[in-house]
């Protein structure tokens, strides 16, 4: 099969000589659905004798209900605490024994577990992972210890981290009804009141083959692996999933503001606009692509607009970052984050950001700016293939958001067709006050401040 990369490369003069499209994505990627509804995606990559095995559950913090925030992530921790046959802690010992690297992560959209192993050990980790899909059996004592670990995790990542507190406040302010307003790790009070039964309920509700996608990338024979996956995952019974309410966020009707006082030296500013995401089945909607490119025009490389103007020329901001991810299950924000330069105020930074955005809205962007970003996207298509784990990650996140891995190349190809006018148009349409939320970190002196320059 031909590679899309080859076709899109014709768009870019620099890349016309490319001739590396010997195998395309679809030729080395295989999809199967088991009778119990489990989806299996295999990406062959034979460069080294290793494999990444991941199972993705479409159950993240956005599926939680009030009073039980953080339970998706707590359950992720409890998944290492024993099944009917494998006692607490044994899972990790068995993976370690075969030389595996393992971990798990929870997001707003999903919970995922993974092992990386030498290829002859793949069957073993498939067996272990399949076992805990339906046989999890932890006791209350394990839960009571692990919930303490999760609270330590929250203290480390959030309570003592002003940037995280600011982000938490931003999300809770931007969203009124969407479950995206809650932090993935959960509110501390919910963690303090969580019971083992809450975690078990979560597991029984969402951990089912018909809510899971297994992604395997690396040096494998797809037919052989299919048989192993059938053997272990195929035996697990399907069950009905809870009804997911849409919980669509009502339209925002004006600027929202929030302030966080926390120990820090410089003020931080976050400006977030409600913007559309890419919707499954509507892959030709140009707006999400234009927003992705806008992100890169503002912050995609060292000389991109915001860094050049605000950090280097005006010196009003010390560091700036822009983020937007068009692939997600829930609503999306276009986020500009900045920490102040010494002696500069949040008001000055905000004015400078507005000025830079206004200029872009009025004058548009240069063809050369956009071309630069598109070249980067093309070269990243090559670089990403250096990591088999990265390839499994890309497939998993795409699938969890309701797309197919087959869409990945189409999405990238579509990106190359976006014009400067379309980028300008989304800036004009969406970077407006009606959908804006501003969160400011107001730095406080710590009670126990150590003297400056202390060592």
């Amino acid at each position: 099969m031909r590679s899309n990369l080859l076709r899109i490369s014709f768009l870019i003069l620099l890349f016309t000589q490319m001739s590396w499209a010997a195998s395309g994505d679809s030729a080395d990627t295989h999809e199967f659905t088991l009778n119990n509804g489990l989806k299996l995606i295999i990406r062959e990559d034979h460069r080294a004798p290793t494999v990444a095995h991941m199972v993705w559950y479409r159950a993240g913090s956005m599926d939680e209900v009030n009073g039980r925030t953080g339970v998706a992530h707590v359950l992720e921790h409890m998944m290492f605490k024993g099944t009917h046959q494998v006692k607490a802690g044994e899972f990790s010992r068995l993976v370690a024994a075969v030389g595996g690297r393992e971990n798990a992560f929870t997001s707003r959209d999903y919970t995922a577990y993974f092992q990386q192993v030498e290829k002859s050990k793949l069957d073993e980790v498939i067996r272990l992972e399949a076992d805990r899909m339906s046989n999890l059996n932890f006791d209350d004592a394990e839960f009571l210890k692990e919930i303490q670990v999760v609270m330590e995790e929250r203290r480390l990542r959030t309570e003592d981290n002003p940037g995280s507190l600011l982000n938490e406040s931003l999300m809770a302010t931007a969203y009124m009804s969407s479950p995206y307003r809650h932090p993935v790790i959960g509110w501390m009070n919910d963690l303090q009141n969580m019971k083992a039964a809450d975690a078990r309920d979560w597991y029984r509700s969402w951990y089912a083959p018909n809510n899971a996608t297994v992604v395997i990338s690396g040096d494998v024979d797809p037919r052989q692996i299919l048989a192993v996956v059938e053997k272990y995952y195929g035996a697990i019974a399907t069950h009905d999933l809870p009804v997911r309410k849409p919980q669509i966020e009502p339209p925002q009707k004006g600027v929202k503001q929030s302030q966080v006082k926390a120990p820090a030296d410089s003020a931080q500013l976050s400006m977030a606009w409600k913007v559309p995401r890419l919707e499954p089945g509507k892959l030709d909607d140009p707006e999400p692509y234009a927003l992705e490119l806008l992100t890169a025009v503002l912050d995609g490389y060292d000389n991109a607009r915001l860094n050049r103007k605000l950090v280097k020329q005006e010196k009003v901001i010390n560091d700036v970052g822009v983020s937007y991810d068009m692939i997600s299950r829930g609503p999306e924000l276009f986020l500009i984050s900045a920490s102040m330069a010494k002696g500069r105020t949040v008001a000055q930074a905000q004015a400078s950001i507005h000025k830079a955005l206004d200029e872009l809205k009025q004058k548009g962007i240069l063809e050369s700016e956009l071309k630069r970003i598109k070249v980067r996207i093309l070269s990243d298509q090559i670089y990403k293939r250096d990591s088999i784990f990265g390839q499994a990650m890309e497939i998993g996140t795409t699938e969890m958001a309701g797309f197919s891995w087959r869409d990945i190349d189409y999405i990238l190809e579509k990106m190359q067709s976006i014009t400067p006018e379309q980028v300008q148009a989304v800036a004009k349409k969406y970077l407006v006050d009606e959908g804006l939320t501003i969160a400011v970190l107001d730095p406080q002196t710590r009670k126990s401040e150590v003297s400056k320059g202390d060592r």
């Binding site: 802690g89 999760v150 126990s448």
Partner: protein, 445 residues
């Protein structure tokens, strides 16, 4: 589930014969050029190449009172150069890198400054990226205005970092372990403010010489092309220069009463942060492998280490707890650490302390040793399964003067480690009455 248990036994038996099925890619020595050494691993499946230039110009050469100078010398290389066609501004450099679809990154560790290029391997793109990197290495302009701006940015970031528990802990711990050795002095607002454009020029002239450089290349280039890359990179760099004063020896952490080894820092955070450690070994030390295997058991092995079991699994005291050795060309350190709710600091420190003390005194159990070797040997392919990881390996082998067959014999060296060697090595290099301890933010109940 008996079958699961049985299968471990099978894997334990099996690991001994691992490593024959897949040949490990060889490291080729390139022609040395102007006193620099070069190494290549050819990987042809992806049309890309990773190139690294390591220069013996790390933080340890920071002059007294100017900590942060080595960082700035490297960090400002992409902010203006004299190229073949005249001056290139920081904006032109950034645009050129972006237009090539390349990445050029600079970083500085205690021992060395590292410039890394990732480029598509197509000749014209690759050559432009290499030429640009060559200009950065040989002819940075160190514009006074840009230096002023970057100094201010660094100072602002430092002031921010000084409000963070992990930074305050690490800085104090570093000073405590390294003492008067140059790496004990980390950048402060004062030392950054003291750096001038002339300091940058002088440091650059003194240390960025080809006889202090090593080039490592992994990717889709052949030997001839790799030699060309190396020559282009080093063409305009002087081969040698004025002699450089020898660094002082890093003195072994002395035996001292606890009161002189332990530092308590009051800090108003929810969690206390704890660091413990001492001077240890070089990478080329013959006891490297016993220490590697032993540390896997003590605090390096993910969810299954003793520290993880005692601190997190049994007691729920911390989310993260670890230990590691950081060996280099010079003696590196051993460090262990954790973070816990402020009023649990004393308990957590006791658990960490007794776990490490018991390990040094008694060593691992036979089954722990088997499990550790099993993980390290079976998992070795994961350390070398892409270009970036291969480059990390080649770079370490080259920098530390290790044999070129290091990757081929790595698993054999792990397998050869005995229980007695682990115990002896830990007792030789670590001692509880030498450990430096820093506790930040403990609250007494």
């Amino acid at each position: 589930m008996n079958s699961l248990k049985k299968s471990i036994a099978v894997f334990f038996l099996a690991f001994g014969c691992f490593g024959v099925a897949h040949a490990i890619l060889p490291i080729e020595k390139l022609d040395s050029f102007k006193g620099a050494k070069g190494f290549l691993v050819q990987t042809k499946t992806l049309p890309m190449v990773d190139i690294e230039i390591s220069t013996d110009a790390g933080d340890r050469y920071d002059p007294v009172g100017k900590s942060g100078l080595a960082d700035m010398v490297a960090g400002l290389m992409n902010y203006g150069v004299k190229g073949d066609q005249g001056l290139l501004s920081e904006a032109q450099i950034a645009d050129e890198i972006a237009d090539l679809g390349a990445n050029i990154g600079l970083s500085v560790s205690g021992e060395r400054a590292i410039l890394r290029i990732r480029s598509l391997s197509r000749k014209d793109l690759r050559e432009r990226a290499v030429k640009l990197a060559a200009a950065m290495l040989s002819s940075p302009t160190y514009d006074v205005k840009i230096l002023q701006r970057e100094k201010q940015r660094t100072i602002t970031s430092l002031l921010e970092a000084e409000t963070k528990p992990e930074f305050v802990l690490e800085r104090r711990f570093t000073k405590s372990v390294y003492g008067d050795y140059p790496l004990g002095n980390t950048p402060t607002v004062k030392t950054i403010a003291a750096v001038s454009a002339n300091d940058l020029m002088q440091f650059h002239k003194q240390f960025y010489r080809s006889d202090r450089m090593i080039v490592s290349i992994v990717g889709d280039v052949d030997r001839v092309q790799a030699n060309e890359i190396m020559q282009t990179l080093l063409q305009k760099i002087p081969q040698s220069g004025a002699p450089i004063a020898k660094l002082p020896e890093l003195q072994r952490s002395p035996v001292e009463p606890l009161a002189q080894r332990e530092i308590q820092i009051p800090f108003d955070s929810q969690q206390a942060h704890i660091a413990m450690g001492m001077t240890a070994v070089t990478r080329s030390n013959p006891d490297y492998f016993p220490l590697l295997v032993g540390n896997y058991i003590l605090g390096g092995g993910g969810f299954v280490s003793r520290l993880m079991t005692e601190v997190r699994e049994k007691r729920g005291l911390a989310y993260s707890v670890f230990s590691y050795f950081a060996p280099g060309k010079d003696t590196g350190i051993f460090q262990a650490g954790l973070q816990t709710k402020g009023d649990q600091a004393t308990t957590a420190l006791e658990v960490m302390n007794s776990t490490i003390a018991r390990f040094i005194a008694d060593g691992p159990t036979p089954s722990e040793l088997i499990a550790a070797k099993s993980n390290l040997v079976n998992g070795y392919p994961l350390r070398i399964d892409n270009n970036r990881k291969l480059l990390d390996n080649v770079s370490s082998i080259a920098w530390n003067n290790l044999p070129l067959d290091t990757m081929e014999i790595w698993t054999k060296q792990v397998e050869a480690v005995t229980l007695e060697q682990v115990t002896a090595a830990f007792q030789k290099y670590l001692a509880m009455d030498r450990m430096r301890i820093v506790v930040l933010g403990a609250q007494n109940k």
